[in-house]
């Protein structure tokens, strides 16, 4: 299997980045809700370290992914009518956008709440903004809305993938799989 994408197939680098991100996102969402639900305790703070670390890892993978995507080709869209094509593309751009918005808004929330970040208990991140209650609420709001949008788009995205595989029986899911 090629590392690079072709017009028919995703290369292995794109595949690894896609599925690694997918796994991390599926860990990240419950981590976020769990962290939020806890009352202030050492456990809560540790869960948040995990949440922030995994979230920033998603962000890092996203940067690699976008660089790789800009550099190379991407597989052709399938022979479908326009509307599902636009929907699929729109969903993909949205997903990319959310993978930027979520980490950045989370990072701002943390900074504005005056909580320093140390990824995986190792790598300190600088504060993006100074402590500020209003900024904190706003960034947390953006984070939360992004989560809602993400959940909705993922339902669409995964549903579409399954539809292609199970109903349309084309190679869309296969070309992203190994």
């Amino acid at each position: 299997m090629d590392m690079s994408n072709t017009s028919e197939q995703w290369g292995w680098l794109s595949k690894i980045l896609h599925w690694l991100t997918a796994v991390l996102i599926f860990i990240q969402i419950p981590l976020g809700f769990y962290a939020e639900s806890l009352k202030l305790s050492p456990l809560k703070m540790d869960i948040f370290v995990w949440h922030k670390s995994v979230g920033m890892l998603v962000f890092l993978l996203l940067i690699l992914r976008l660089l790789w995507r800009i550099k190379g080709t991407i597989p052709d869209t399938v022979n479908a009518s326009r509307i599902p094509q636009y929907l699929a593309q729109g969903a993909h751009y949205l997903l990319y956008g959310l993978m930027i918005l979520l980490p950045i808004s989370g990072w701002i929330t943390s900074s504005a709440a005056n909580i320093p970040i140390k990824l995986f208990w190792l790598i300190p991140l600088p504060a993006l903004v100074g402590p500020d209650d209003a900024v904190k609420s706003l960034a947390a709001e953006v984070h939360e809305i992004s989560v809602c949008v993400l959940l909705a788009v993922l339902v669409l995205h995964i549903g579409a993938a399954l539809r292609h595989h199970l109903l349309l029986r084309d190679n869309i899911l296969k070309r992203m799989w190994f």
Binding site: S41, A113, N114, I115, P131, D133
Partner: protein, 189 residues
């Protein structure tokens, strides 16, 4: 009041230089008392927004007495959630202990305008002997500044008790630093 004036009269009779002692009072608008606990080894800065300091020097300008009153309720860590959290029983327990006080009448001169004040810090119901290093600079007849920095152990005062006691996430050492502007007190006579 009466006892005090009797005592003053008595001291005058005994020839004590009461009149030449200077009483200094902190100027709240230009004074800062900061503290920084650490989280995973990184500092989180906070400040006590309300505190007052009175300081008395003798005729030679040497320290006589230092009294610091701190409104623990005014602790500000830059975020309303944090401010609420630190008021809890495990932390400052501000409903039972809204104030802290440091009193020192024992000083040693460590040269170059710097001194050590040994005194009692009363905080969250505990009284501990604490030594506070400070630099005292007289700027004019009526203004002066006091600056200094020290490290306290929060476990001495049971601040962050229970599951927080280990200091694993929130370190046990808390940095405290201050920059206090003083003016001379108007004589009460």
């Amino acid at each position: 009041m009466k006892t005090i004036s009797y005592a003053a009269a008595l001291l005058c009779l005994l020839g004590f230089p009461v009149a030449s002692a200077t009483d200094w009072q902190s100027d709240p608008a230009n004074s800062h008392l900061n503290f920084a606990p650490s989280y995973e080894g990184m500092p989180i800065n906070g400040a006590f927004k309300e505190f007052s300091t009175s300081y008395q020097t003798d005729s030679q300008g040497q320290p006589n007495r230092l009294i610091v009153n701190i409104a623990i309720t005014s602790a500000d860590m830059g975020n309303s959630d944090l401010n609420e959290a630190i008021g809890a029983i495990d932390w400052f327990n501000i409903s039972d202990f809204p104030e802290a006080q440091f009193i020192s009448e024992e000083f040693s001169d460590s040269g170059k305008e710097t001194f050590l004040a040994r005194g009692t810090l009363q905080l969250k119901g505990f009284k501990k002997i604490v030594t506070v290093p400070f630099r005292w600079q007289v700027l004019s007849d009526s203004s002066a500044s006091m600056t200094g920095e020290l490290v306290l152990s929060r476990s001495d005062f049971s601040i962050g008790s229970g599951e927080w006691a280990s200091g694993e996430q929130i370190g046990v050492a808390v940095k405290v630093w201050f920059d206090v502007a003083f003016t001379t007190k108007k004589p009460n006579l």
